[in-house]
């Protein structure tokens, strides 16, 4: 499925949009990390919690659960709520 990558993570992917697969949001992130090593740890911490400012949208709907099921036709968007000085 298509995954939209925010600018702070494009040093890993080299692209705004990449392909990845997984039956859940968690599996998708694992696949992304396999393709782009190091990416997952910068958005999910060692306790499997989403880092601050990180948001996931599936077909435009915000999700917080890494167990959220995915369909191959879903479009996933990873968004960073950039803030601060």
């Amino acid at each position: 499925m298509k995954v939209l990558i925010p600018t702070p993570l494009r040093s890993y992917t080299g692209a705004r949009e990449v392909d990845a697969s997984g039956a859940t949001m968690g599996e998708l992130l694992t696949d992304l990390d396999r393709r782009f090593p190091g990416l997952r740890f910068r958005i999910i911490d060692e306790q499997d919690r989403m880092r601050a400012h990180m948001r996931f949208f599936i077909n435009g709907e915000q999700v917080f659960d890494l167990a959220r099921p995915l369909r191959p036709t879903d479009e996933v968007q990873i968004v960073q709520a950039l803030s601060g000085g």
Partner: protein, 400 residues
């Protein structure tokens, strides 16, 4: 894996000179500056009079420490995070021309109950291990954690028992016991005579020592004071800001603490508050501690205002380093060339250091982004760079 690429450093044309006493004079000094918005490398000429800025590296990343591996003279490690991404470590084996991210950055073990599991917010401190342990590094994190890499910083594992030891977790305290930007493990020190003999310090949580390569640790806080009203017997209340071991006498350590400047001469376990000899109107509060590379009686500090609400800026807006030549029996103000008024900046605990040249060069960075240098051991200061981002750490190394 994220990478960045920088232009190659210019090559020096002058051969290395032989210094007084037969010591080979290093050809060039490298000053590594970690800031809130990236890292810079400053390459000095052999006389340390002109400096070439190489940077920014990792623009926009929060860089807490950049350290050169003295064992190979080429490998750099940089502790990084951003305001919006998790922490990591970058590694360069070509003096910063290219960087590669660690495959496994420092991270705590996944807890059975994820609500209780700790998360590394940032790696704060990097220390190359013993000269006989090539490619081994230690890292201290925020919140307090101790990590070790045996492959030059590519992968990191939790080191020793302390990260999950109930007693140490108690001593580490809670978030409110640490510094405003997170409690920190710092001052990870390796005894140059013995790789199994290590020290570390925690803000908060005191100074600790192991003689068996981390199997067991003991607090080393006797003689240290704590904030009035707190009990010094409670390790959590101890707040060492920076601890340094003297390379020329590894039995001597100096410490800038939240509550004064101290010296420890082993085998004694009792710190002596040498800051009592500082001028009363200055006091002995500050963050960095710098030792001379060859004279264990010489050390430097940069006092900060520690009164009332703990402003921790240059006292009265008139910054000055202070140096001792007699192991803390007396101190001399060293402010030649520094601003004489209205300079309200802070020098953080990692932001002052020394090189190893015959006449030692001193360097410090300010929270207002200025990098200062003295070629004569503190008597006269001049800026190397102005208007950098807030400076978190400054390290100096000689390029072979």
């Amino acid at each position: 894996m994220a990478r960045t690429t920088r232009k190659p450093a210019a090559k020096t044309k002058k051969p290395a000179k032989k210094a007084r006493g037969g010591r080979s004079r290093p050809s060039k000094t490298l000053v590594m500056v970690a800031t809130r918005k990236g890292a810079w490398l400053f390459h000095g000429d052999p006389a340390r009079k002109t400096w070439r800025a190489d940077g920014p590296h990792f623009l926009g990343h929060i860089i807490n420490h950049v350290v050169l591996d003295p064992r190979d003279g080429r490998t750099l490690l940089a502790a990084a995070k951003t305001g919006h991404l998790g922490p990591t470590v970058f590694r360069s084996t070509d003096l910063g021309r290219t960087w590669k991210e660690a495959a496994k950055p420092p991270a705590f073990a996944k807890a059975a109950n994820e609500e209780k599991g700790r998360t590394v917010d940032h790696t704060f401190w990097l220390t190359p291990a013993h000269a006989n342990e090539p490619n081994v590094w230690y890292a201290g994190t925020s919140p307090q954690g101790l990590f070790r890499s045996e492959d030059g910083g590519v992968s990191w594992e939790e080191f020793s028992i302390i990260n999950d030891d109930p007693q140490y977790r108690e001593w580490m305290g809670a978030q409110q016991d640490g510094t405003p930007d997170g409690p920190k493990m710092h001052s990870v020190i390796v005894d140059p005579r013995n790789p199994s003999h290590l020290y570390f310090a925690m803000s908060g949580g005191g100074v600790h020592e192991t003689l068996d390569k981390g199997r067991t640790w003991k607090p080393l806080v006797k003689g240290l004071e704590v904030v009035e009203g707190f009990d010094p017997a409670t390790i959590t209340f101890h707040d060492p800001h920076c601890v340094r071991l003297c390379p020329s006498n590894p039995d001597r350590l100096y410490q800038q603490n939240h509550c004064g400047i101290y010296r420890l001469d082993r085998p004694s376990n009792e710190w002596v508050r040498i800051g009592k000899k500082m001028p009363k109107q200055i006091g002995d509060i500050g963050f960095p501690m710098v030792v001379h590379p060859r004279d264990a009686d010489t050390a430097w500090v940069f006092p900060m205002d520690g009164q009332t609400v703990w402003p921790r800026i240059a006292i009265d807006g008139v910054p000055a380093a202070f140096g001792t030549r007699d192991a803390g029996k007396s101190w001399k103000r060293l402010d030649g060339g520094l601003p004489k008024s209205q300079a309200w900046w802070t020098v953080k605990r990692q932001a002052m250091t020394a090189d190893v040249q015959d006449t030692v060069g001193l360097y410090f960075g300010t929270t207002s982004g200025d990098l200062w240098m003295s070629r004569d051991e503190g008597r006269k200061w001049a800026p190397i760079a102005r208007h950098l981002p807030e400076i978190y750490a400054v390290e100096a190394a000689e390029l072979r």
